[in-house]
């Protein structure tokens, strides 16, 4: 059983991790777009 502090910390960590993963995915979307544009010019 989690204490209220542990629950709050769990929520906080999950939120931060989701933001990091989301940011990473967005980064790769832009990177693949840029790679495609560069490769099309080869």
């Amino acid at each position: 059983m989690m204490t209220p502090e542990e629950k709050a910390e769990t929520k906080k960590r999950q939120k931060t991790r989701n933001l990091v993963v989301g940011g990473g995915l967005l980064f790769f979307v832009f990177l693949f777009y840029a790679i495609t544009i560069v490769r099309m010019g080869d």
Partner: protein
């Protein structure tokens, strides 16, 4: 895995993203990124900045993935050593299965992206370097032979080679020489460290050279590798692949490296009260040495491209 039962099994809270980042050994990765970037910048030819950035990103991801797999396998060993006991796995901040999946995912993605976006030969060598570090070195040879560091040096020697091949698309003598420089730099670099943390390695049963063969042999080996590094580091200049800027700087830096290794190679430690200053100095200088050597390689290439030198 060796046996993770001894590490803290219960992980109540989800791992923080910083713990995953720590799994990638960021400090080691900084050297990997730097040498990979130098290999890429020093190579003859041009590469689009986006593709070059992708190549370095893939090298970093591959190194990070391999480091995560290394820590997953060695969680129990790390738990037994003061230097590594606070890492995310032995301290119970990350579940072993999460670390393993993170390592596999990161290294697989790095190889695929490198192949699709940059070059398949570079991707193949990147994939081999991950397997070399995570399987051949970590699982197979590190716990079995006191020459583990010599063999492990190969894993860290791949990045400049991969960076170079990302530009040229083929393997020539120069990327092989860059590989060889890091390969022969690693033993004196790491054995200097092993000399002043040898108690830890002995405790967890890793057959480091100072533990198995003794200090005297290790010190002689450090000296021998450092001496061999002198002609090797200068060889790109001798064969005409670089200019005098690199040649003179490489000679000066490697002679300094050799000079630092002489007191380490010729002395005997005076027991537990020895402060091991020569070993610590050699270890610190060895890191500076590699950064400086590869930086000057790029400076030399830029100078040649700009026509500053003949």
């Amino acid at each position: 895995m060796t046996a993770t039962a001894n590490t803290k099994a219960a992980v109540n809270l989800p791992a923080d993203w910083r713990d995953f980042f720590a799994l990638t050994k960021p400090r080691v990765m900084s050297l990997v990124i730097f040498t990979g970037l130098c290999g890429l910048l020093a190579a003859p030819g041009t590469i689009h900045p986006v593709i070059g950035f992708t190549a370095i990103l893939c090298i970093a991801m591959g190194a990070g993935g391999a480091a995560a797999l290394n820590q997953w396998w060695e969680a129990d060993i790390d738990a037994g050593m003061k230097r590594t006991a606070a890492r995310p796995l032995p301290s119970g901040k990350i579940k072993p299965i999460d670390a393993r999946d993170f390592g596999i995912g990161l290294s697989s993605a790095s190889v695929v992206i490198m192949g699709v976006a940059v070059d398949w030969l570079a991707a193949a060598i990147l994939g081999f370097s991950v397997i070399y570090y995570a399987v051949i070195y970590t699982i197979w040879l590190k716990p079995r032979t006191p020459q583990n560091i010599v063999i492990g040096g190969g894993a860290g020697a791949f990045p400049p080679m991969i960076g170079w091949i990302a530009v040229t698309g083929d393997v020539t003598i120069m990327p092989v020489l860059l590989f060889a420089i890091i390969f022969f730099w690693t033993p004196p670099h790491f054995w200097a460290l092993a000399l002043f943390v040898k108690t830890d390695y002995a405790k967890v049963g890793i057959p480091m050279l100072p533990v198995v063969a003794g200090e005297r042999v290790t010190r002689r080996q450090i000296l021998a590798y450092s001496a061999f590094l002198v002609p090797l580091a200068v060889s790109p200049w001798i064969i005409g692949a670089t200019g005098a800027i690199y040649g003179i700087a490489a000679l000066a830096l490697t002679l300094a490296f050799f000079a630092f290794s002489i007191p380490v190679g010729l002395r005997e430690s005076s027991g537990d009260n020895d402060d091991m200053k020569p070993e610590k100095r050699l270890f610190a200088f060895s890191i500076l040495y590699l950064f400086a050597l590869f930086a000057v390689l790029v400076v030399d290439r830029v100078a040649a491209a700009q026509g500053w030198i003949a």
